[in-house]
Amino acid sequence: MGRVVGIDLGTTFSLIAYTDAQTGEPKCIAGSNGSVQCPSIVSVDENGKILVGDAARARLTTNPDRTIYSVKRLMGRGVADVQDELKIFPFRIEPDGSNVIHVRLGEKTFTPPEISSFILRELKSWAEAHFGEPVDRAVITVPAYFNDAQRQATKDAGRLAGLEVLRLVNEPTAAALAYGLHKRKRGYVAVYDFGGGTFDISILKLISTSEGDIYQVLATNGDTHLGGDDLDNALMDLARKEIEKKFGVALDPQGEQVQTLRKALIQAKHELSSTDSATIKYSLGAKGTYDRIFTRAEFDALITPIVARTMAPVKLALADAKLAPKDIEEVVLVGGSTRIPLVRKTVADYFGRAPHTELDPDQVVALGAAVQADILESGVKTMLLLDVTPLSLGIETMGGVIAKIIPRNSTIPASAEELFTTGVDNQTAIDVHVLQGERELAKDCRSLARFQLKTPPGPAGLARIEVKFLIDANGILQVGAKDLRTQEQHVVEVQPSYGLGDADIEKMLEESIEFAEQDFADRQVIEARTEAESILVATEKALRDTGAAGIDADERTSIQKSAADLRAAIAGTDYKLMRTRIDELNAATNHLAETLMNGALQTAFEGKRLDDVGD
């Protein structure tokens, strides 16, 4: 078994973390450029190779038709659901007649779980490089308000990335874990999580028992389409309108130009968190330059309605928890958007206290995931997370009305049993439609799944099939059925309303193995090149060394030839060839190395400094 990690698969940034066995503290792992944040951006290059993170981000402006950002907004949703998103996000969705989303990136199309799996793979490689060992299990976080389909899509992404998903943990709860570990506080806590694409509010009770600490979620609410992206879009809207008015240029929301503008606007947004004004200089080529100063006051006015939208779920969650704002003893801020002064002020004013920001709002979710991963892996039982399901589970009854069977904010795992029977004589199949949501009518709720109960023909009302609905610790629904007359367990084949069936996943898993092999090869190439370069540098230095005077011309030529061969090899991509040439150069320089070593020892005995010699 390999190592276990915690992963924050975010809309804008993703992070990976682990718990240090020595200190018991969670830590984020950095990528090769030293940053712990991996932009949740995926691009396909001209050779069909998948690029993730910083490498992909650069291509947002150069190859926007082969690059995608904020794929989390598409997870667990059908083509019909995302039509509104398409107006403001440049998602290139293939119109193939099915409801499953296929995004076109270059020559190929990918489903959102596949794209997310590329991001997970990238993070996985960071961790494996850090540990020097394989990583095969992870706790992955999801917005608390994610529904069943969105959770299942996340689990699918993990599987496609070669990770066993030990648990899906809600983001605010993960943050509470990291925060609780940090502060050891007790009492009522509100976690306000304003990320790149989603907003969550969770109300928790932190309790100290003789066994350890319990993190009990009392209520959760949110909006899975409310985040920093919306702030960016508001700025973008304004800028595009002004540009059209002033310059007569209508920028295509799906084009390249707009991505450069977006980048500049995001930069300004970040600056405005610490300054009173920020300037944008955006070139429109021959038409001129859009030179605009944004003031803090103006920005605040622009984003006030968006920030106000976050307060509605906050009020609902507090009502469900049967608490008033003043009852909350600690407020924790999570997510990059909580750096914005207006957001902080709004939250502080509402709860009547300053919110906590000691833990990096960008890292805290990943850290919490690592803490949960450690709990599950090590079996150390000093912390227990009791989370809830965010949406009521219901079944459609006659007339399209929903009968709620598991209420929202029920602690999970949670279950309900329903008895089904036939409505007409000789009916052999009973259709069950399961939905999530708070509305009264099925058409206003989110369809989760459908299944059929088979029963032998008989008079209406004779059949008695007991169906058990169970929401597991991941917040995902499982269904079991028993015929009460025969005591037989039925296998229930649940057709998810959105997303991928098992057969789809299997097919993708096969394809993902190709990507895995490609990744493996890439890494080998990079490692071989790195090693080759350092040997080449050392060889040249050694040849210039005075101690190398004793090497004869033939040997020198032979060394130089091996070095040249190695240089030729690293210009290519065949890592096996590179390894062979590395070995050859090592063999060729053996004698040289010995000579220098002897010389060094001699010099040492003669009182010269050893570090004058060699490296």
């Binding site: 079996g379 039982k381 795992p413 949670a414 169970l470």
Partner: protein, 235 residues
Amino acid sequence: MAITQRQQKTVEGVPAAACWNCKASVPGGAHFCGTCAKIQPVTPGADYFSFFELPRKLTIDPGMLEGKFHMLSWKLHPDNFVRATEFERNLSLQRSSELNDAFRTLREPVGRVEYLLDFLGVRKEGTTKQQAPPELLEEVFELNESLDELRDARASGGDIAALRTKLEAAQKHFQGLLAEVDADLAAIARDWDAVLDANAGDATRSALLAKMSDLLNRRAYIRNLVAGVNAEMAA
């Protein structure tokens, strides 16, 4: 409705079973085997009260219940069974969902009564007859009239202030009735507990259960009224 044969006079009405692992005898409803400590399947027929090792009394100290809930959560939660066999993981899933369902039901006084009646076969949940209690008929009629008037006035842009005031009075009145029903339920809950302590006969119990059922019907009806008025006022 008559009480069915299912009613048990004692808490431990569920028979003992053999542990699936070591075959030792496990008392009915026990969470773990006393001999090998393996988690046991949820026993059909065991009720939520016995899950918490409580008698079927309707007065429960909330702090005590929560303490038991936390203690059992530590023991039964799937987090403890990540490394266990799939069979045990499944048992943990079943038992911990039972725990959560039981806690959710028993923590609310009304939920407790509903559950008791359902378990004893006196009243099937969700089969409330939505009929107005006779003494309320006139008031309900008036209320519906007022609501209609308000809706019409809104639609035609008429004066709603006076109508709102009238409805506010109705709102207060029905909320008061709801509070009364809750108080009645609390009183009858205490009666029930006394009856259990005194080990009273079937007839006494039946009478109390029937009364509880009526109160629940009345409560559901009034609560729907209050919800309706609240919704209209908030609109």
